[in-house]
């Protein structure tokens, strides 16, 4: 396993540069496959995330894209320790109210008390607006829960803040006594955002926050997320499978395939000068709402299906479907994630800039 070496640093995690808020080092998450009822034996594993490393700068939005089974959701949840990482480090370097940078803390290895405090800084907005709100709780209880759990303020204080938060996300503060089922999908998603904001976090994971919404509502919620980022100085990790949306909202983008990052770079560089064959295929597969463009596009259609994460192919995990794969090299050696251009990381033996979009 090679180290992801960042420019101007040695591969140590003593102190991170001041502008970095999160650094993930070799994050691995495997789900054991067990057999047997009483005496379980591990017969295999689902390699959901196999050594992911990247960093996020304060105030930016990093888009994490990929198709199903690529591990992006698992990565996000492991970063927040909603799932226990199998190995790896997640360094969080927060900033205090007065502007000083706090020492970095490893989320993956934190003890219960530290983790509890970290939860105030690291929040998440879920994909499904229908499943992410407890149907038996009022909106007020839902949005206030983070505060209730951390014992912040009195009940009256919390209610005040809930009303404020509802207004911030564009809902009426009078609806605190309502139940989730009385709201539409877009509104429920806003409630989820209000909840995530309750403790003034610094870093937010947005797990496909608009995928379940209609297009016209998507735009509203995306605008809201951007406004909130400006207003509160938030940093986002935006998980999505929709590359068009990611282009709109991200500063940097990482593409994942079968548990690994295959390409990571600035937003414009990814869409204008992608280098990894999977990125090429992915970009060419995304439909563009313009018939003239669609009819003249060159399509790269991949063969076959995504392999199962429980038995990833040897060597480069993409080699079974890659139009450029060379037998003897690609199915034997796994390409490391390397910085080929300024800030442009690619994991491929034969990278090539191809303008797909």
């Amino acid at each position: 396993m090679t180290d992801t070496v960042y420019k101007g640093e040695t591969a140590e995690t003593g102190a991170l540069p001041e502008d970095v808020i999160l650094r993930v080092n070799h994050l691995v998450k495997e789900f054991p496959i067990n057999r047997g009822v009483f005496f379980k034996k591990q017969v295999g594993a689902v390699h959901a995330v196999s050594g992911v490393s990247f960093q996020v700068k304060r105030g930016e939005t990093v888009g994490l894209v990929g198709e199903s089974g690529c591990g992006k959701s698992t990565t996000a949840r492991s970063i927040l320790r909603l799932l226990e990482p199998t190995s790896g480090e997640v360094w969080f370097q927060g900033q205090s109210e007065d502007g000083t940078i706090d020492p970095p803390v490893d989320v993956a290895g934190a003890d219960r008390e530290t983790l509890r405090n970290l939860r105030r800084e690291l929040q998440i907005v879920f994909q499904d607006p229908y499943a992410s709100l407890n149907p038996r709780m009022t909106v007020a209880s839902i949005v206030a829960e983070p505060m209730t759990v951390h014992d912040i303020g009195t009940q009256a204080d919390r209610l005040e803040r809930v009303k404020h938060l509802l207004q911030v996300v564009g809902l009426s503060p009078e609806h605190t006594n309502r139940y989730p089922h009385e709201f539409s999908g877009g509104q429920r998603q806003r409630i989820g955002v209000a909840r995530a904001l309750a403790l003034n976090p610094q870093f937010m994971v947005l797990d496909e926050p608009v995928s379940a919404l209609d297009v016209s509502i998507q735009a509203q919620v995306l605008n809201l997320m951007q406004d909130l980022q400006d207003e509160f100085g938030l940093t986002y990790l935006f998980i999505a499978h929709d590359l068009s949306v990611v282009r709109h909202i991200s500063d940097r983008v990482a593409v994942m395939y079968l548990g690994k990052i295959v390409e990571m770079t600035d937003r414009d560089a990814l869409y204008d000068r992608p280098m990894h064959p999977y990125t090429h295929a992915l970009l060419s597969a995304v439909p563009i709402p313009d018939p003239t463009v669609e009819s003249t596009r060159k399509r790269i259609i991949l063969e076959g299906d995504i392999p199962s994460p429980s038995s990833p192919p040897p060597g480069c995990r993409f080699n079974t479907r890659c139009p450029k794969a060379e037998a003897g090299k690609c199915d034997v050696d796994e390409p490391p994630l390397q910085e080929l251009e300024d800030g442009h990381w690619v994991a491929c033996h034969f990278p090539e800039v191809v303008q797909v979009v």
Binding site: P146, V149, H175, Y179, F183
Partner: protein, 391 residues
Amino acid sequence: MTERPASDELVLDAAEGISAEPITQWDLFVTRLRRHRLATIAFFYMAFIAYVALMAPLFTCEKNDMFCGRQPIQMSALTTVIMLVVAAGTLYLAYRSLRSGLRGAGSALGAVGIVSVLFLISSWGLLDIPHINHYADQLPDDSGRILVNIAPRGSLPLGTDDLGRDVLSRVIHGGRASLAVGLVVGSLVALLGTVVGSLAGYYPGVVDQSLMRFTDLMLGLPLLPVAIVVGRVLPELRFLPDFLKQGAWGIAVLLGVLVWGSLARIVRAEFLSLREKEFVEAARAAGANDRRIIFRHILPNAISPIIVQTTLVVGTAIIIEAALSFLGFGVRPPIPTWGGMASSGAAIAVRGFWWELVFSAGALISTVLAINFMGDGLRDALDPTQTIERK
């Protein structure tokens, strides 16, 4: 800072028809319950039966009491307080229901409240309310002969049994046994089943496996034989307090301890699925600990199957108690119980004296049916897939 067109949203919210009053889950529940006519009738029937059975002893006269019906009843202070609370409470609830337009519930509660007040007043000797015979009294006629096997007539609307006892009184008092069984079994099953099921469902691995194997054991016990054996020896267990050995309480506890297994399985299944829901994940992301997640998030969402299953188990338990008493292993005479009455009634029915059997068995059947209908209605009413959804 960029302008956010929030006001448009608010206007449209109102236009979209978010109702003026919050629609709580309770509102939805009551609406759907009322729609289920059978269940509503069953509910009122059960309430009536329970109320009569509960109040009956206050208006039962012993034969030696010459002043029966002409003097205030001696009610203990506790009973008076309870009656006052019941009267006041039901009248208040009736008022609130009628205010919010729930006419059915309002009138029912109002009826209960008014009757309670009447009972209270009559117990103070101010009103003349019919009193019923004591269930163990052998009733004499004017010439002193015991009124044995008298067919239903006049002051004996359900007739008398083989020993000259008033069948109506016995049916009413027999209901108390079933009521006791219902309450005790219901509480025990709900408590044990929920505790075991929730722990097993929430904590996988050793906890789950061991709890469920224990539950399997309980479920594997043949219910009736075990109940018969224990019921047979119950009166002879010296270490048990008296009230458990007589009457239906002992049987009720016994049954409660035997039948909670099915609920435990259901609760475990609910917990297994709810544990993976996103709102639980969200609570964890907010920093909630296990206790909060179990009690505040999962349990409230698992309530409906708990209520429904408990109702159904209660129905079964009442039948089993009746069966035990029918066979002679349950509640011992002279305390009346529907099963016991059915047993003695069956013996004399061949001679044409049908009323004891018919009325006791009828009471039993109708009560259990009512409980089952209530369970049906509750299940439909609590079904979350029928909530008002908006996209």
